[in-house]
């Protein structure tokens, strides 16, 4: 039994697509072609057509970018500016983002199929606000004076770690960019950013705005290209001090290995998840059937179509590879005996559109219950007791997030503490905040993004000890 999905069949959106201004690598303050001259195609997931040809970075380009970042760190002004000066530049950067909201939102919609109206109304501005959050932190990075057990004066200095590599994914290009670049800038680091090959456009635009804001050359470098070439070059670079990655667990393994075999650079990983969303029954009757009925109603109203259309809830998947992967998981779900409640098919015509799909009667051992699908496929399972829910929710190699729906104080507290996951949302979901750190447990990774915690990845702690004489206190 399937519900009907309306395909938001759009009269072509009346948004004027902006001219793509920046398609070259941004190294040492300049937009330059890759050394090889190669470019790669940037595809519009709504139409499967080429939007732009973007410079393709490889190892030599990464070397240049790392060199620029190294010089900017070792000799340039950025780490030597007081925090209040970095703050000033970052506040200007945030203002420039706010001044260019529409163009940036359009780029993310073109590239990643983020919903345009949401981008314009909130997402891009949130990116600017996150930069402001870290701008305000730049002059508050403190070490500690210590209590020594002998006649020594001791203190820690908290220093920028140096040249940082950021490898960021395609699902939220703006969020991912500012989440990484913001705290690294505040800490006084310099960086080489590799955006996903599917979504290079807004990163290059941000580099342009950063320069306008007064960020010195070499501090932010953007090398667009592929993971296996440019990304690998960053993770194995001998002169990059730290690599911060968000993406699949599979790639996370490779990055950590490359870091290990090269120069043991510090690594932070934000990887995949298979996060449980647990709806508790506070009403003492079985909530399952009521839940399914309501869900079906919601799904019927869900509109799939052109992400530039403000009435659309869901755009296309980001590219052909992801599209095919999601469809193959749907087939597996059917084959392994889950009940297809609604959806399950791609939309006809151009573009990587897939119907919102819901499976019920899913069991823990099914593929769709274990592996990260990264598509609009919901898997619903039934449970009886709180202990069972906890045990099954924790029965995964992942541990990124979890949602708990309950009004019961004890269930909320107990379950929140029992779930082995890095972000627990009680009676909400995707509740992100500038001050709230998020990051995974287990194979969802380590290290935090957002909040003050995110700064730690980009800092090194140095202890300094000096003997003292005749101190009136110890």
């Amino acid at each position: 039994m399937g519900g009907e999905i309306r395909n938001g069949n759009v009269e072509k959106a009346t948004i004027s697509i902006p001219e793509i201004k920046f398609t070259k690598l941004f190294i040492n303050g300049e937009f330059v072609p890759s050394i090889s001259g190669k470019t790669f195609e940037n595809i519009d997931p709504r139409t499967e057509e080429v939007i732009a040809n973007v410079s393709e970075a490889d190892k030599e380009d990464v070397d240049l970018a790392a060199k620029a970042a190294r010089q900017a760190f070792d000799d340039g002004p950025w780490p030597r500016l007081p925090g209040c000066e970095r703050r000033r530049i970052m506040l200007k950067f945030a203002d420039l983002i706010d001044e260019n909201v529409e163009e940036l939102a359009a780029l993310d919609t073109l590239d990643a199929a983020n919903l345009y109206s949401f981008g314009k109304a909130k997402q891009i501005h949130d990116g600017a606000e996150l930069i402001r959050y870290y701008a305000g932190a730049a002059d508050k990075i403190h070490g500690t004076t210590l209590k020594m057990s002998s006649e020594l004066q001791g203190y820690t200095l908290v220093e920028p770690i140096g040249v940082v590599g950021h490898i960021i994914p395609w699902n939220f290009p703006t969020q991912m960019f500012v989440m990484k670049v913001g705290p690294a800038m505040a800490a006084g680091c310099t960086m080489v950013v590799k955006p996903a090959e599917q979504t290079p456009l807004s990163a290059l635009y941000y580099a342009h705005l950063a320069k306008q804001a007064g960020v010195p050359d070499g501090v932010i470098n953007v090398v667009t290209g592929y993971g296996s070439t440019a990304g690998a070059a960053i993770s194995s670079h001998m002169d990059i001090d730290m690599v911060s990655f968000t993406g699949s667990t599979e790639t996370g393994h490779r990055i950590m290995q490359a870091a290990a075999t090269s120069n043991l650079k510090a690594v932070s990983l934000e990887l995949g998840g298979k996060s449980p969303f647990i709806v508790f029954d506070d009403a003492d009757e079985g909530i399952y059937d009521k839940f399914i009925a309501k869900l079906l109603e919601e799904v019927k109203a869900w509109v799939v179509g052109d992400p530039f259309d403000p009435n659309v809830n869901q755009g296309p998947q980001v590219d052909k590879k992801q599209y095919e992967k999601v469809l193959s998981y749907i087939e597996r779900g059917k084959k392994e005996g889950a009940t297809l409640l609604v959806g399950g098919k791609p939309l006809p015509g151009k573009g990587y559109y897939i119907e919102p799909t819901i499976f019920t009667d899913v069991t823990d051992d099914m593929t769709i219950a274990k592996e990260e699908i990264f598509g609009p496929v919901m898997s619903i399972m039934k449970f009886k007791t709180v202990e069972e829910a906890i045990k099954r929710a924790n029965g995964t190699k992942y541990g990124l997030a979890a949602g708990i729906m309950t009004n019961d104080l004890n269930i909320a507290n107990t379950v929140a503490r029992s779930l082995r996951a890095g972000a627990i949302w009680i009676n909400c979901y995707f509740a992100f905040d500038y001050d709230l750190p998020v990051g995974g447990y287990k194979m969802s990774g380590y290290g935090k993004d957002m909040g003050i915690e995110a700064l730690h990845k980009y800092l090194q702690i140095k202890s300094v000890a000096t003997p003292i004489f005749n101190s009136p206190w110890l």
Partner: protein
Amino acid sequence: MAARRISSLVSRSLPPLSRDGKQSCLGRGIYRYGTTAAHEEPIKPPVTVEYDKLLINGQFVDAASGKTFPTLDPRSGEVIAHVAEGDTEDINRAVAAARKAFDEGPWPKMTAYERCRIMLRFADLVEKHNDEIAALETWDNGKVYEQSAHIEIPMLARLFRYYAGWADKIHGLTIRADGPYHVQSLHEPIGVAGQIIPWNFPLLMFAWKVGPALACGNTVVLKTAEQTPLSALLAGLPDGVLNVVSGFGPSAGAALCSHMDVDKLAFTGSTATGKIVLELAAKSNLKPVTLELGGKSPFIVCEDADVDKAVEVAHFALFFNQGQCCCAGSRTFVHEKVYDEFVAKAKERAMKRNVGDPFKTGMEQGPQIDAEQFHKILKYIKYGKECGATLETGGDSFGTKGYYIQPTVFSNVQDDMPIAKDEIFGPVQSVLKFKDNAEVIRRANNSPYGLAAGIFTQDLDTANTLTRALRVGTVWVNCFDTFDAAIPFGGYKMSGIGREKGEYSLKNYLQVKAVVTSLKNPAWL
């Protein structure tokens, strides 16, 4: 220097008597500082005074009594403006407005980043109006215009941005308990903050007080010594969040300290007044109090010091802001090995100090703030002479108008002289001799005050030893008066209670609430 500053207006001859009947002292030789500037007509400041009323609940209003008091131009003693004189009734209205704004208004319920944005906008406005604000500050206060415009107003903007950046980062703890409990400490805004600020750095004192209070989500009643032009720039604030009442200590100030509905009090001023403030708070509703009071801070020049550098920094440490700094380095201890050289150079440096109309380019020192301070400083100079200290240079007022005092240096000062013990708050440097570190530590600490100290040495061990031994809230090593937003400032002993600036200042404006909930089946403890 002075020769170049003689303007064409010196067709006016020097009048024979200054305003209190004493001859301007030219007794000991030629003083090369800009005496002529003090005799010229004061430069007309390029601003008008527009804000002379109280700010209560978002409105600019007259005092309930209708009274005003004059603010004077310290260059001439003339009236600049008549400012509303707040008293108990006005304080009551202001506190009521602040209470309502806190309990019912939007301010504490706004998200932190919205508060941050309002504070950032204020900083932007301050920057935009930098020169006007600086001119008003100089006109009111007498501090050199270049200091206002190039140092203090930019610092005001930086301070506000600093505190804006804390607004959305105020954290408590989740705490591990000994049993099955979920424990949080919530850091909540304390409520209505009463703040009393002095006249020596009106705008910076405004930022030190109002900045953290607002960042933490509180509402404020600020009692100022005079009008402040800043109230109007805080336009984005909801009504009642910041209330400003100008007036006098014994009336408006006392009313604020005793008010039963003020949750927190912060005061900067003299130690004598600080005692009264604390007493009133205790007698009324036990509101917590932070005090930033006076000092008699030692500036210690060690035997390995680069004397020329030491002289310059010691000079700045004492004479900055006409000597009107709570943390002025007002006891200059110099090691006997370098003493004679130091004194000679300190004298020379004081003689070169450019004193005159603070609006004139190149001045280093303007007039003292008012007649009361002026006479008090002259009294101490008299004591200095009477006690047998050696007057190296200066020693009197000069000029025919206003409250100008010659940069004065005493040497051979002994610990028991009034000029070595009491806070003078004027351009009077006292130089004392010492033999070794142990002695100077003992003598430096022998004071009821403990605000700050300066140490001049290249020796690592000396720096570390002295730093730890001095019972003061700030030690400056090879520098002085470094006042970055993040550095906590405050006194030991009778120089005060609590710290301002830095993360430490937030504590003053937060209350801690522990929340303990019993847990069922905790997965870990």
